[in-house]
């Protein structure tokens, strides 16, 4: 599968996750978010940027418990809990935020 954005074609997997990590930029992230029905605010970018940094370091998307824990460390307990993250990304922070961050679809049950 693929989609076109600003004159360029982006290759994705069956679920709409970018195939090439390097294709990602903020513009395309905004486009995917729009398709997902998510309006990106600064809080949304915090999560996306965290996910990308984490992926760059460990080459894997973090498990949800690690995401929550690290968010708590960086931004405090009011942002480091699952209710906050699901509020930002109602379809699930792992699935939806990873898609917007241009990471592969997380495996496992979340």
């Amino acid at each position: 599968m693929s989609f076109d954005f600003e004159g360029k074609t982006y290759e994705t997997d069956d679920d709409g996750y970018l195939v090439n990590l390097d294709d990602w930029n903020e513009g395309v992230a905004g486009y995917i978010a729009e398709q997902e029905g998510v309006e990106m605010t600064e809080a949304h970018w915090e999560v996306v940027n965290f996910l990308r940094n984490y992926y760059a370091e460990y080459n894997i998307a973090p498990a949800i418990k690690i995401l929550i824990k690290e968010m708590k460390k960086m931004f405090g307990p009011e942002k480091g809990n699952s209710a906050y993250l699901y509020n930002l990304y109602p379809a699930g922070p792992a699935l939806q935020a990873c898609k917007i961050a241009g990471l592969p679809k997380p495996t496992g049950c979340v």
Binding site: A63, N81, S82, Y86, N87, G92, L95, G108
Partner: protein
Amino acid sequence: MLDQLEQGPWPSFVTDLKQLAASKATVGQLLGQLEKSYRDRWDYWTGTVLNLSGYGGGVLARYSDLRDEFPEVAQFHTVRIIEPSGYVYSTEALRELCDISEEYSAGILQLHGMTGDVLMLGSDNQATHAAGEALMSKGWDIGGSGGALRTISCCIGPARCEMTCFDTLGLAKFLTDTFISELHRPEFPYKFKFKLSGCANDCAGSMMRSDLPLIGTWRDDIKVDQEAAAGFIEQNGEEFVIGNVVSRCPTRCISLRGGRLDINNDNCVHCMHCINVMHSALRPGDDRGATILIGGKRTLKIGDMFSSLLVPFMKMQTQEDWDALVDLVRRIWDFWTEYALEHERVGEFIDRISMTSFLDGIGLEPDPRMVKEPRTNSYIKFEEYGPPRFHGEPPQPPNVVDREVIGPEADEAAGNPNRQSGADEAIPDGGNAGDANKAGGGAKGAS
């Protein structure tokens, strides 16, 4: 092949589904796929995740691999509905569930799953979202799938049973409300289950089916109504009582002397057997609470595990008691989510890292009773039935009176400091341990 399941004396789900298939095309195709599964000995479902908005759990998504052959069951999802404490429903509530199930799913309700939830089977992607909305508008909630807390189930407890040692219904509701976020959104390595049983009969099956079972118990003496016991003996005969009560006591602590039941409470393991048989004559004691165990589960990384003891006794009566339980649970979750492997239940986690490390991790002082098997060695005797002791807390004095210091000697020991101080002085005065013993012995002999 399915027809064979209709033969025999028992009710068959095939018959039920065939009836339902008359009004629901989905169910007919479901039977078709099942028939093919049985013939080919292959499971044609692919399981994945479908999240309702804001929820990470509560729906088990099932997609058929035979969607061309059976298009109606291409999406056949299960919604997990949180059940009321003790499975107590009004008929109105059940009708609501049936109506919603009829409208949005294949009309199949499963009461209840192994987890203790209500399962609503057979909705497609769109209907699942609509069903979620419909359920929530009527005050139901969903949750408990993936690496999340499972719905909390309990025995009927104080609603029907006078033997219950704590309010299982109230506590189950309190835990559901307190941990609702963990029920909605998976954030654990794998599932976590509570089950609450009011006594050692364990009607909720908590010991082998949950990660954290709470089983009601008491720490004072079992209550005996000798008059009722005499009535029971008269009605059923001494032989019946000896055969079914006295000789079936696992620790042989009951005897029948001259028509009176005599129970040695020191040896009683609170198994409930005698109370079950002679429920008019025997009752659990008044000082009731719960024993907390940890780590029961079915086969996963390693084979089936029974839970083992974590806290011998905790009162479960007041809000403070319940808050203390929540504190203990949060300690367990913090440590387990931090260090467990993916898909590792807490029982397997303890098996891997050892009970010592686990207790250290959750900050609980080790206790000789935290063993995998119940006490079988009669040389080990526990006098102390105290609440859990966390790191840094001083040992609490035993609340069970030591039999050896009852009587005139105990009065003297309490009222006459000479014995103790005499022994203390004997050591610096050039004596030795032998003198100290002599001094102590002398005081005792003088009484």
